[in-house]
Every structure is written in C-alpha cells, then in structure tokens.
C-alpha cells in the first residue's frame, strides 16, 4: 500500500523529470534517449507496484507500435527536408511567438528527438514486458 501510494506520487515526478530532460536536451544534458529511458523507468516502477493488467488498463499502449511510430516520426522528419530541396535530415531552427510560452526557440530536431524518445520507450517497455510475461 505504501509502495503503491509512493509510486503514484513518484511516477509523476519521474515523468515530469523525463519530459524536462527530453526538452532540455538541446541546451543542457539530456535528450530523447535519456528522456525515453527515464519515462520507461517510471512505467517500470508502475509495473512493479501494480500488476500488469492494471497498468495495461491505465496506459493502453502497444509498445511495439510506439517504437514503430517513433521510428516513423524520425524518418518523416528526415524526409520532409527533401521537400525543401535540401539533403535528407537537414534541420532548421527559428524563434517563434507561441501563445503560451512567448518567444521560443523551436528546431526541427525536436520531432526527430521525439522519435528517438518514443523508440526508446517502446523498446524498453517491449523488452521488459515480454520477458516479464514469459514463463
């Protein structure tokens, strides 16, 4: 009971930290890879505290699809560059006025990193879940 309560609390903190790592990657240590691993660590914690069914109901993801989607996003980021007549995977960046955040630096590496993030989460969770399920 203590574990489950703590877990619910901790999971949020870990997820927020992982999201921070993910977004901060371009300026400070972090990035898609570490962010993804952190997120999966949070999910593993959930798996440890609750049984697999509960977690599956709360987060109904097929993690293989998550990994595939991440790979897809990364590739599409690269392909988009081709439409602007520049080589595959050329990135760009710029400062945009966003409604909530104000002036923000946005770069096209972010969706690429998002792909990395999703792949890492998908892969880590797939491996852990598959091994955990097997007899």
């Amino acid at each position: 009971m203590i574990l489950q309560t703590t877990t619910t609390l901790l999971t949020f903190i870990i997820v927020i930290f992982s999201v921070y790592l993910f977004f901060a990657g371009h300026y400070t240590p972090g990035g898609g890879f570490i962010g993804g691993l952190m997120t999966s660590a949070a999910l593993v914690l959930l798996l440890l505290a609750f049984d697999k069914k509960t977690v599956q109901n709360a987060l109904p993801f097929n993690y293989l699809s998550v990994a595939a989607a991440g790979l897809m996003i990364s590739i599409i980021t690269g392909v988009i560059a081709l439409f602007f007549d520049v080589p595959f995977l050329t990135h760009t960046f710029g400062y945009v006025e966003l409604p909530l955040l104000g002036k923000t630096a946005l770069t096209s590496t972010l969706p690429f990193d998002l792909g990395v993030y999703l792949v890492v989460v998908g892969v880590a969770m797939t491996i852990i879940q598959t091994i955990g399920e097997s007899e």
């Binding site: 300026y27 240590p29 990035g31 990994a67 595939a68």
Partner: protein, 803 residues
C-alpha cells in the same frame, strides 16, 4: 560472321533440332538426320584443299568480345584443315556406324546425337580457332561432351567412374592450359596464335617462357593421354563403341597432339620442349604397348594401343622440334620426324577407327569382348576378319599397309634423334631408337593377339551369349572404307602429299625453308628395314611363347599402379579434406573464438611491429589526477573479481560495479550525457543479467570457479597487449587536428543548440542516430518474436505440422 563460322557452329545448331527429329520422326533412326551434316562439312572442307596446297591460308573474324581482344577468329591452314577433314570424315563414318550399332528402340538416341554433335562442333572449333581463349572454350566443351558420351549408359557404375576420371584429368590439364594462355598473353599482349608466333623472339627470351611451356604441355599431355595421365583412356572404354572409335582414337585424344603441333612454332627449339615432348612421348609409347599385351578385353587392348600410338606421334613431334634449333645433318634432317608424325596421325585415325568398329562388331555379334571367351570367328565373320587383319597389320607396321611406311619413318626419325649433338643427346640419345624398337615389338605382339586370339583358334559357342554371325552391311561399310584407305594410303602414300605438306608448313618454324614429302615403300637395305625385320622376327617368337614369359606382368606390384595412385589420391583427398575440416570446424564456439582472436593477435601484432608503427610518445598526455587513479583501481579490482569469483551472482554485481565506475569516469571526464545514459543502461543490463541468472536450469547449475586454461590465458593476454600497444601508438602519433573545434563553433550558430553532444546526435550526425534507433527497434521486435513465437511444442515437434 561468315560461312565458315556457321560451318563450325552448325553441329550445335543441328544439335538443337535433333530432339525434335527424334520425337516427331519416330520411325526413322535419328542418326540418318545427323549423317548429312558431317558429309556436307567434309565436302565443304575438301574445297579448301586447293587453297592450302598453294600455301595460302584462310582467315575470317567474328567479333565476340573485341574490348579485350577475344574474337572468334577462324584460321584455316594445312594443320587445321587436316584435322577438320579427319573430324568430319571419320565423324560421318562413325554416325553411319552408330545407326546400325545403337538400337532405335532401346537407346536414348536423342541424347547420344546431341552429345556427339556438340563434340563435333567443339572439336572443329578447337582446330580452327586462332584465338587462344576461343580455342580454350571449345577445348573444355570437348571435355564436357566427352564426359557426357562416356557416361552415356549412366546407370552403369563403371561408366560413371570412367566419365568422372576422364573429366577430372582432362579438366585439370585444360585449366593448366588456360594458365599457360594467360602467361602467353602477359608476354605478348595478344591471344592470337599467329601473332604469338610472330612474336616468338619476345617469348623465348621472356622469363615466363618455361612456365608457359610446362602449362601448355600439361594441357596437351592430359588430353592426349600421355604417361602418366593416360589412365583415363582405358576407363573411357565404357562408352559406346562408336564413341570410343570417334573420340578416343581419331579426334579428341589428338587434340593434345594438335596443340603440341600448333604451338611448336612458339616453343620448339628449346631443350625443355624437346625433352619433355619426345621423352614423355617415348615413355608413353613404351608403356602403352607394354601394358596392352596383358589386357584381356579387346577395347582395353585398343585403348592402350591408342595411348602407345599417341606417344609415338608425340615423340616424333618432339624430335621434329629439333629442326627449329638447328639442322646439321644434310638438309632439314629432322623435318622427316614431323612428316612421320603427320603421316602417322592420318594412318592411326584410319586403322584405329576401323579396328574399334571391328571390335564393336565382334562385341555386338557375340555379346563379349573378352579374348579368353572368343576364338574361331574367322569362318563365321569373314569380312570382319579381313578388316581386322588389315587394321592390325597396319598397326603392327607390316608392309604393304600404311602403318609400315609411318613406322619406317618413325625409325628414321628416332635414329636421327640419337645423332643430335646437343642437350645431352650424346649420352642419352641411344635410348630413343632402343625404346622405339622394343615398343614396336610389343605393338606387333598385341596386334597379333588382337587378330588371332579373336578370329582363329577354337570356337567356343558355349561361352558366348549370342550365336555369332556376320554383321549387317551398314555396320560394315564404315570400317570397309577406313580399311580401304589403309590399303590405298599404303600403296599410294603420295596421294596425301597435298594434305601433309601444308600441315608441315604450319608445324615447322619459318627457318625451315623447304619440305619435300617423299614417302616410298622401298628405301633399299638400310637400318630401318633391318629393324622392322627384327621386330617381326622377335615379335613372332614372343607371340608364340607369350604363355611362358607373360608372367612378368605379375611381378609388377599391383599396389604401385597409376590407377591405384589415382584412386588412392582421390580417397586421400576426400579424407584429408574431411579431416582438415573436422580439425578446426569443431562446432564449439570457444574454439572459433580462440582462432579468431589468435588470428587477430598475429595479424595486428605482426603488422604493428613489422611496419615499425609501434611508438610511445608521452608528450601530449594529460596528467592523471587522484580521482582517476582511484577510479581506475576500483575498475581493475572489480574486473579481476569477475574472473576469480566462484558465484555467478558475484560476477554480475562486479560487472555492474565496472559499469558504474565507467559512468563515474564519464562524469570525471565531463561527459554528462554519456554518464546519464551509461548509468541507466548499466542498470537495465544488470537487471537483465540477474533475470538470466535466475532462470538457469537447476541441473547444470554448478557453482564452479572459472577453470584455468593456458590457451585462453595466452590468447586473452595477447589480445589485451595488442590492443594496448595499438592504443598507445595511436595516441602517440596524432597526424592532424581534430575537427571538434568546428562543432564547438557551429553548434549554436548553425543548429541553434547549446548541448553539443545532442546537436551532433540529432543534427550534424542525425543519420547515425536514425539507424541506431532502428537497431533498437529491431532488437525489441527480435526479443518479442523469440519469446512469443514458439513453433515447436514441448515435445520437440513443430506446431503447424503436428496437426
């Protein structure tokens, strides 16, 4: 492409049509369709006689691979024409003979004639090609078609054995010849035989001259069944008799003779050529005739006889090559040897072809070829008997047949050879006429055995499967034609002047100005005549007493025969290869790893020290702080612990300690991204190791210490040292500045990021990252598939199939 190209390729074209003829005209023997072609070709080639007799040649080019100088160049001179006439003429007779020999109902005629036509076309290609590589292609095609023809009755084991043997030996020689061709090309830069002959000075002075010569001779000797490569020919007698008559007496075995004759202008004049060609020729002559006497199978006698006669021709060509070196006894004294070679070539094709057909008739009509079962067939098969007498007497070298003439000239050539005053011939020269004479005695004996053991003596009908009677007329016509040629050439040898003379000019080098073809029966009382008389006298004596001295063949140790050597060699090769494979392909991964690492140590270590690449330069080494030293000690201690702990759990934890110290190193060396990643990855992998540990099966879970093995210790020590040396050397010699300064400058300006590592990962080198995440995805899918996909159930059967 001109007509003559079409002529050479016409057998192949007809071979395509043969199966259709066989299928749609079932009532007619397929051979009749085939027969037309060699006849037409024979007449076509006869037209060229007038061209070559005038000393002219005919050339025609068809482009094949012009960019590397390989074109189908047809070059028709005296030598080529002689062979082309032999191939088509005897080819026509063999086809006619085979029509009566092979039964329409029982045999697969379509394959037989397809193979035979393939062979005919290939053989024409060999003798008429000027381009060496084209010739080589046709050469191998003769090997292949001969292989197919020998194994025509492929359900017999002996046929397959003989076919394999001939294939292995002739292809071995063919490949050697290919190497020789390439060497010639290296010397002169051309594949054309004529251009090579024109550049003969360049070739003789080149250092590759002798290797090329040896390789060409290897090709010629294997094809022409010279000692010690003759062993395939007796086993090739499992082929149908028309095939033996055509391939193994008249044409294919003469391809090697053709090659020697054709390349004579290039190689002749060198002592190596003289000694190898005439030496192997005379050895083959002796050994073939000696071995023929002990055979009991008619075709085996003829096979060894062919071997021996080919040796005779080869030795004559060898002696004739002395003409290229010098001529000091009279005018062109050694050309008579070449003349004898060409003349005997024709003679041998005629009498050996007819003898094979005679043997085929005997086999066909009595059901056996064993001379111990045969006898007294003279009255039953008078025509066959007459043909056999003519062929065998000509083979033995008796007057008035053509064999007598070529044998006389052979003796002349050999006697002259003993008078060559160079190349150690003063001391060894007498071997030639003596061996030649002894071989002729044996030739006489087996020729007599062939005729008289078969046709005279007691008739033993109880031993024969069939009731013998005279053969059908169609089977007799071809040997009758050939035997008549034996007699005609015997009485009127000058008829062949027009064929022989141009052939001589092709073989002999250009420094021989004039050759006069003079072949007469009567030369007066000279040494050669007395030698022949001696052959006959001693031969008759030995033939009559063969029962007494025949035991000498049993003295020869059976274990030491060349066939035993060949068979043993094949078995030893097979066993050796298998033992060699088993010796290192053990199936244990640890053995392969030892090999891989040992190879790595040797390769890298030797390279490092042999090229003087090893150096230690400590000038740009950063000072080591106290933290680094402590951390390194921790790492070393935990790494060593892994090796010496008893339990696996402790090893896993020690491994984790190594991983975490690495991540601390990353911290120390200011690599926060790496430190973070290493920390998490190490955690995950330790967790996975623990998982594996937990699932180890109970039975083999022995908590043993790692056993000490000397090999492994040396190998691991070696790998470690080599890697350290390489690391030191690499670090000591930085050749240029690192490019990292660019990334430092550009990561914010061009990519808008301040985390340089991440910018490199996703922007500058995003391509790598893309595939790394692909790798991760594949790994995930792989693990998922391995665990979820269980095709075999617990009993070991496959799920889908057990239903």
């Amino acid at each position: 492409m001109s007509l003559i190209h079409l002529v050479i390729l016409s057998p192949f074209l007809l071979a395509i049509l043969v199966p259709f003829a066989h299928k749609y005209f079932k009532s007619i023997h397929t051979g009749w369709f085939v027969l037309v072609l060699p006849l037409v070709l024979f007449i076509y080639f006869l037209q060229f006689l007038s061209t070559t007799m005038n000393g002219e040649t005919y050339t025609s080019t068809m482009k094949w691979i012009p960019s590397i100088g390989i074109d189908f160049v047809v070059y028709l001179d005296g030598l080529g024409l002689l062979f082309a006439l032999l191939i088509t003429g005897i080819g026509a007779m063999v086809v006619l003979y085979s029509i009566y020999y092979l039964s329409k109902e029982k045999e697969a005629l379509n394959t037989f004639y397809v193979y035979l036509l393939m062979f005919m076309g290939a053989m024409l290609g060999v003798v008429l090609s000027d381009n060496l590589l084209v010739m080589y292609s046709f050469w191998e095609l003769t090997s292949i078609s001969s292989f197919l023809l020998i194994s025509y009755w492929y359900h017999r084991e002996k046929s397959r054995y003989g076919a394999q043997k001939s294939m292995l030996i002739t292809v071995f020689g063919g490949l050697a010849m290919l190497a020789g061709i390439i060497l010639l090309y290296l010397m002169t830069g051309t594949f054309s035989i004529r251009e090579n002959i024109a550049n003969v000075d360049l070739i003789t002075s080149h250092e590759l001259f002798v290797p090329a010569l040896l390789l060409f001779l290897l090709g010629a000797f294997t094809k022409s069944a010279q000692f010690p490569f003759h062993i395939w020919l007796p086993d090739a007698m499992e082929a149908p008799t028309p095939v033996s008559a055509y391939l193994h007496s008249a044409t294919m075995v003469k391809a090697g003779i053709y090659l020697v004759a054709r390349m004579s202008p290039v190689f002749a004049g060198a002592p190596e050529w003289f000694w190898l060609v005439s030496g192997f020729g005379i050895a083959t002559l002796f050994w073939g005739s000696f071995s023929a006497v002990k055979q009991t199978d008619l075709k085996a006698i003829l096979a060894f006889s062919t071997v021996s006669q080919l040796g005779l021709i080869m030795s004559l060509l060898g002696v004739g090559s002395a003409a290229a070196y010098y001529d000091y006894i009279g005018e062109n004294a050694y050309t008579i040897a070449t003349l004898a070679a060409v003349f005997h070539l024709i003679n041998h094709a005629t009498f050996k072809g007819s003898l094979f057909m005679v043997v085929g008739i005997v086999d066909h009509e009595t059901g056996t070829r064993d001379i111990r079962k045969l006898g007294g067939l003279m009255n039953l098969m008078p025509i066959t008997f007459t043909l056999a007498i003519i062929g065998a007497f000509s083979m033995a070298g008796l007057p008035p047949f053509n064999g007598f003439l070529s044998k006389e000239m052979f003796f002349t050539g050999m006697l002259q050879a003993s008078e060559i005053s160079a190349w150690n011939m003063e001391t060894l020269g007498m071997i030639f006429p003596v061996l030649a004479w002894i071989a002729s005695v044996f030739t006489f004996i087996y020729s007599m055995i062939l005729v008289f053991k078969t046709f005279t003596g007691k008739y033993q009908p109880e031993k024969l499967d069939k009731k013998p009677h005279e053969a059908p007329i169609g089977m007799l016509i071809p040997p009758i034609i050939l035997a008549s040629l034996v007699v005609i050439f015997g009485f009127f040898p000058m008829l062949l002047k027009g064929v022989i003379e141009p052939a001589l000019y092709s073989i002999l080098p250009s420094n021989v100005l004039s050759v006069e073809v003079k072949i007469y029966h009567w030369h007066g009382f000279n040494t050669e005549l007395f030698m022949t008389i001696g052959v006959i006298l001693v031969g008759v004596l030995l033939y009559l007493t063969v029962a007494k001295w025949g035991k000498i063949y049993e003295w020869f140790p059976q274990r030491l025969t060349l066939n035993k050597l060949y068979d043993g060699g094949l078995v030893a090769l097979d066993r050796g290869a298998s033992a060699f494979t088993k010796s290192h392909m053990t199936g244990f991964i640890r053995d392969y790893l030892v090999m891989i690492f040992a190879f790595m140590i040797v390769l890298l270590g030797v390279l490092l020290f042999s090229t003087d690449a090893f150096n230690v330069n400590l000038t740009n080494v950063a000072p080591a702080g106290i933290y680094e030293v402590i951390l390194a000690l921790v790492m070393v201690i935990s790494a060593v612990t892994i090796l010496f702990v008893k339990s696996r759990l402790a090893a896993i934890i020690a491994l984790g300690a190594v991983g975490y110290s690495i991540s601390l190193f990353f911290v120390l060396f200011r690599a926060p991204d790496l430190a973070l990643t290493q920390l998490i990855v190490e955690t995950v992998s330790v967790a996975l190791f623990l998982l594996c540990f937990y699932h180890l099966p109970e039975l083999s879970k022995k908590m043993d210490k790692l056993r000490f093995k000397v090999t492994n210790f040396i190998i691991s020590l070696g790998v470690g040292l080599v890697v350290i040396f390489i690391g030191l050397s690499v670090n000591s010699s930085k050749l240029f500045e690192s490019i990292s300064s660019y990334f430092e400058a550009a990561s914010y300006k061009e990519a808008g990021g301040k985390n340089m590592v991440n910018v490199i990962l996703v922007d500058f080198r995003g391509f790598d990252t893309l595939f790394e995440i692909a790798v991760l995805t594949i790994a995930a899918f792989g693990i998922y598939a391995m665990i979820k996909l269980r095709l075999t159930d617990k009993k070991g059967g496959v799920k889908g199939e057990s239903k």
